[in-house]
């Protein structure tokens, strides 16, 4: 029983890490209806910028601030150069633009900061912690706390700030929001900047876990089923989806993998996502699209 609980807890904590990446997608999708394919590249860009600075003896806090400034600049540039010229185009056009953008960000990051693999030490211990009968990773526990803090910060941002309330208005009804004078370009730049901040947090935690290298962009592969299960428009959905994917993946790997003679977690999360799509197409917390016909 303790092994089951340990596997479950380990999976839930891994799921929080997936949710961190998924939140970045949710933010941009909520504000503009765009599935931002470049979120993985933003995670890479943020982590690479941060580690490049710290390797040059820039203090930790200053490196964080400079990286945040880089991500905000990137957000403003994306709004000006990519999104603004494509306003009123179809969603698939915007999606394709983010696809191209991901290659530009990945390529530019490697050209400017090199293709080497970097160690990232956040000073968080990664030793096993015994909690009752189960053993957990202290790093994963800190990551879960960071994700919790991020969700609270985002909730406050959306509830208490003018930009946050405007974003919710745009997400609810873009036409009505525009008619009362909400400026879409400012909002888009703001939400991309917040997504850049989320990418920085995700990049630092994932980078500390596996090293800062190109494969950080692959973490989005697990964010997709998280989004499908939780819904594209809900931060709570991203967290719950992440927990479901993490736990299901870990349990399937342990109990189903040996029966099938190989690793199952490559496809299991996607199979689960397809099952959710059949039952609940908008995800657990997503908004159902109701159209008058």
């Amino acid at each position: 029983m303790s092994f089951f609980l340990e596997t479950l807890a380990g999976g839930l904590l891994a799921g929080v890490m997936y949710a961190l990446v998924a939140i970045g997608f949710v933010l941009i999708y909520k504000a503009s209806g765009v599935f931002n394919f470049a979120q993985g590249a933003m995670v890479l860009c943020a982590a690479l910028t941060f580690v490049t600075l710290t390797e040059r003896d820039v203090p930790f806090w200053l490196a964080g601030l400079i990286t945040l400034a880089v991500m905000v600049t990137l957000a403003v540039a994306v709004e000006r150069v990519v999104l603004r010229p494509l306003v009123n185009r179809s969603q698939i056009t915007l999606f394709m633009a983010t696809l191209g953008l991901s290659y530009v960000i990945e390529g530019a990051s490697q050209v400017l900061m090199g293709a080497s693999v970097h160690e990232l030490d956040l000073g968080i211990s990664d030793l096993p912690v015994e909690i009752g009968p189960i053993q957990l990773s202290s790093f994963d526990l800190v990551a879960a706390l960071a994700a919790g803090a991020l969700v609270i910060a985002l909730a406050l941002f959306f509830e208490r700030t003018r930009i946050g309330v405007s974003l919710r208005a745009v997400a609810d009804d873009p036409q009505a929001a525009l008619s009362i004078g909400i400026r879409l370009p400012v909002l888009w730049a703001a939400v991309w900047a917040v997504a850049g901040f989320v990418a920085l947090v995700a990049g630092l935690l994932w980078g500390a876990r596996q090293g800062v290298q190109f494969s950080l962009t692959f973490v989005v592969l697990k964010a997709l089923p998280v989004l499908i299960i939780g819904g594209f428009t809900s931060i709570t959905g991203a967290i719950v989806g992440g927990l479901i994917v993490g736990a299901a993946d870990a349990l399937a790997e342990i109990y189903l993998g040996p029966l099938l003679g190989g690793s199952v977690s490559t496809w299991f999360a996607y199979a689960l996502a397809v099952a959710f799509l059949l039952v609940r197409p908008a995800g657990l917390f997503g908004e159902r699209a109701i159209e008058r016909v």
Binding site: G11, P85, Y103, V117, Q210, G211, Q213, F214, V264
Partner: protein, 458 residues
Amino acid sequence: MTRLSRALRAVALATSLAGLPALAPSASAADETGAQAPKQYFPLATFRVGAYASSGIPSWAGIIDYLRYLNEVEGGINGVKLFWDECETEWAVEKGVECYERQKGGREGSPVPVFLPHGDPVSKALTEKSVADKIPLLTTGYGRTEAIDGRVFPYSFTVLFSFWSEASSVVNYIAEQVGGKDKLKGVKIATVYHDSPYGKETQVPLDLLAKTYGFENIQIAVPHPGNDQSAQWARIRQIKPDWVFLRGWGVMTPVAIKTAAKTGFPVDRIIGGIWSGSEEDVRPAGSVGKGYLAITPFPAGQDFEITKKIKAAIVDQGKSDLKDLKSFGSVYYNSGLIETIIAVEAIRTAQARFGKRPLNGEETQWGLEHLVLDEARLKQIGADGLVQPLRLSAKDHEGGGAGKVLQWDGAKWTIVSNGWVKSDRELLLPVIYERAAAYAKEKGITPRSDDTAEASAQ
């Protein structure tokens, strides 16, 4: 459209074009040898961008620095200087095949003597094409294990250390640690492998070795890319193996080391395979990687005679292909150096028969099948200790079958095995020949006899 927007689109176009395999030769294609003398073309299929660039970049430096050293210090191979160009593959199979197609015709009148695919999947994709084009594929530390039987695979050279030999040498190293092969009975060895054809390649030999020596053989798959392994290491914690044989690729290795540490598994009981044993694999794991072991045919170090010569003539003169000189003498740098030494010595062997001129693939294939790199020759080159003694033939495209065990001390690798740890080739080869024969039957190939192999290229 704003000016900025036009600029970004131009960047996007350039990026997309850069993704295509070498529409034009790279800048490094420059002839470094002067115009008159006949020169030997040496094509390079490289990946300097993309997910695996960090492992590729030091390897190309090892290759290019040695080629430059040969040209500048030794005057080429018997007076035939070398030139090269690069084709970017991004480690993708389709781009690798396209690079092969672009480069196979040779350049500036020189044919292609040998092709280095630099990737297990692409080397398998090129197996049949290379036979049709008569261009030998040199795959050091990767590639199809059955290609050891050159009677069935005349143009594939799984030189040095096949995956089967890798598995066997790891078992033999563990046997040394536990007090002999007779003490392996009951020892639990868990193989944590990349869930891909490359990762599964050691399952058959480990089955055979487990039956022979009586150890418990546990197989645990990690899906690509391997950036979360909590479930796999929870299983390890449950099974409690004595040793873990880690066969990773890319990010899988540092994540495995970190996850092992956080589940309490001792890192000095993990032995990484060939592609889990570079500085790039352990550095991201940080301090918890201290004590980690790895087996390799590419020992790291700067104290080999040849590396000292390259340092003096190329690196210290500012002519190295390395941008980051801390990679000089690293596992990947030395892997490029070692494979180029083998290719160059095969060309030298073939030149003794066919003349001191640029050679084609068929001639170099003869050179490879008659390559003898004994201790004396390795000493002459300055590669003793760096390259294991090799003797290739039509029946044996591997030749060596041994590796050295390295241990990470937190900053660099130290060789901890007593010389080269040999594999049980006498046990493995009959099974490899059986599998090669089955492949020949399936593909309708009539295997060459040893005699026809000897007569080929005459």
